[in-house]
């Protein structure tokens, strides 16, 4: 792959409700922050990819309604309806096509303006599943049970993730939900859909983010701290939950293997220094760690209990606080990439991890991690 770099990142603060801000306000804020971070003007952006979802926005072609705020006026703009990691993937491809030297990728979401359960219910099949009331939490509870039952993972194992990620959020000024918790407090929080409790679940959030990608030639002119895309891949499992073994992370394993192979990584446990993954629910961090190859299947709880994934551990996971500490849907994947970029550049402030040379960012699309996108980012090409 021709080298492509992340040259600028920007994210708004994530909050339960950013009442003052409409979509366009959030997008403009994130885009301006990314441009400022890159030291660029909007004229230097060759094309734009916007990421949004029509159901969440309550309007069709939601991606086009922020055209002025994202800076795509008189530019080539295209759209992705899916997680931000997939939007960034498309932005990367547009540079690799040779047609553009830079791509601005932005994503927005306001969970405060709609009914989350009704919208996530609508991602399921309208003939066979939707009328049975399944939505994001119920489907994830089914997956959590399948995974925990298969490997003997406990609710306490999952609670460790909540304690760690909410704790990390104290060092991230844009995080929505820093919490000082104990495993006992997580265990004592009420069930939402057994085995998931309130403190196993991500919050509803408002927020927007933007990332600027550039070819090597353009990156050299823009920044002296480029973060390089060393490998990236995605893979999709079946749509119907009933067609999948929900305890299985096949699609993630495939995407990770492919991304590692592109990046020349043979042993992620030794060669990756930091991970930002899509922890919409606590059990997901354990499952995704296994799928990404950081431990054997079923050992995610043990790895977490060992302290290896803590901020000062061998392989810090979600130093930003993760989705558990702020979850604007779609934006969340871009946020995973942004945290890796900040960490690789040494710009992560109070939560800076020492000596990060290679980091993995991970996003999901579809119910229960139907599709996974894995990015390997590095300070060197």
């Amino acid at each position: 792959m021709e080298p492509v770099a992340v040259v600028g990142v920007g994210m708004t603060a994530m909050r339960r409700e950013r009442r003052k801000d409409g979509y366009a306000d959030l997008v403009y804020e994130a885009v301006c922050l990314a441009l400022e971070d890159a030291g660029m003007t909007i004229d230097q952006v060759d094309n734009v990819v916007t990421v949004s979802n029509d159901f969440f926005d309550g309007r069709t072609i939601s991606s086009m309604a922020i055209q002025d705020a994202c800076g795509s006026y008189d530019k080539n703009v295209s759209t992705v309806e899916g997680d931000g990691t997939f939007g960034a993937f498309y932005g990367l491809m547009r540079i690799l096509s040779g047609s553009f030297g830079t791509t601005l990728v932005c994503a927005h979401h306001k969970g405060s303006e709609s009914e989350m359960a009704l919208i996530t219910n609508a991602m399921f099949d309208p003939i066979y599943e939707r009328f049975l009331g399944v939505e994001a939490i119920t489907s994830s509870a089914l997956q959590a049970r399948a995974y925990m039952d298969k490997y003997g993972v406990t609710e306490e194992d999952c609670a460790l993730v909540s304690v760690k990620n909410h704790g990390n959020a104290f060092r991230n000024p844009v995080a929505q939900l820093p919490l000082e918790l104990t495993v006992e407090e997580v265990m004592a929080s009420p069930y939402v859909a057994e085995p998931l409790k309130v403190l196993d679940c991500c919050p509803i959030s408002d927020g927007a983010s933007a990332v600027i990608l550039a070819s090597a030639e353009r990156a050299a002119k823009i920044t002296d701290k480029p973060v390089w895309v060393r490998g990236v891949a995605h893979c999709c499992d079946a749509y119907h939950l009933g067609d999948r073994d929900l305890s299985d992370v096949r699609a993630l394993q495939y995407a990770a293997r492919k991304a590692y192979s592109m990046a020349g990584i043979s042993d992620p446990r030794q060669e990756i220094d930091l991970v930002e993954l899509y922890d919409a629910f606590t059990y997901m961090e354990l499952m995704w760690l296994e799928g990404l190859g950081f431990c054997d299947p079923g050992d995610g709880g043990k790895l977490t209990a060992s302290g290896a994934t803590a901020l000062d551990g061998k392989i810090p996971v979600n130093p930003s606080g993760g989705c558990l500490s702020g979850h604007p849907v779609l934006v969340a994947g871009l946020n995973r990439i942004i945290e890796c970029v900040l960490q690789l550049r040494g710009d992560a402030g109070e939560r800076q991890v020492d000596g990060v040379r290679a980091a993995v960012a991970h996003g999901v699309n579809g119910p229960c991690g139907q599709s996974h996108c894995v990015w390997v980012l590095g300070g060197e090409r």
Partner: protein, 157 residues
């Protein structure tokens, strides 16, 4: 001069609906009419790999082969995974909130290779096990929908 009022306005979408009407397709229609008229489940079998899909559809994803052979499957099966839902939200099919808690499961019907989602008539998670046997309980009044099955009942308690 009057004092400046600072308020942040939000507009509601109102009562307008966005109705849809989805085709169930030929096999889906057969599946739903069998539920409605005969309290039976049918699936469709892949000619290449032999996998039986319930509910039926037209293509086997892994083989990318067209599915044509309808086969009967049982109204009994086993629990693949489950949850007990304690939060309520408005059921899009009825416009009413379903009373909580309620049992929910992924179920493998005997003779099928894929699973369906449905309600369980048990709400104590301690009494539900992965692998437990279940049987469909049908509604008296059936309309040709997944809700023609009231819920699945545990065969052993």
């Amino acid at each position: 001069m009057a004092e400046e009022r600072k308020e942040l306005i939000k507009l509601e979408s109102g009562e307008a609906e966005q109705p849809f009407c989805w085709s169930a397709g030929v096999y889906g229609s057969k599946f739903l009419t069998e539920l409605r008229d005969n309290k039976r489940f049918v699936g469709v079998k892949c000619p290449k790999c032999g996998k039986v899909y319930v509910p039926p559809r037209n293509v086997c994803g892994p083989c990318f082969a067209e599915l044509t052979e309808l086969v009967p499957v049982s109204d009994e099966g086993e629990i693949v995974t489950f949850t007990v839902v304690s939060f309520g939200f408005v059921d899009p099919s009825t416009g009413k909130q379903k009373p909580v808690p309620y049992g929910y499961a992924v179920i493998k019907l005997d003779g099928a290779d894929t699973y369906i989602l449905h309600y369980l008539d048990e709400t104590d998670p301690q009494k539900i096990k992965v692998g437990a046997r279940v049987k469909a309980v049908f509604e008296e009044e059936r309309t040709g929908s997944m809700l023609d099955v009231k819920h699945f009942t545990l065969l052993e308690r």
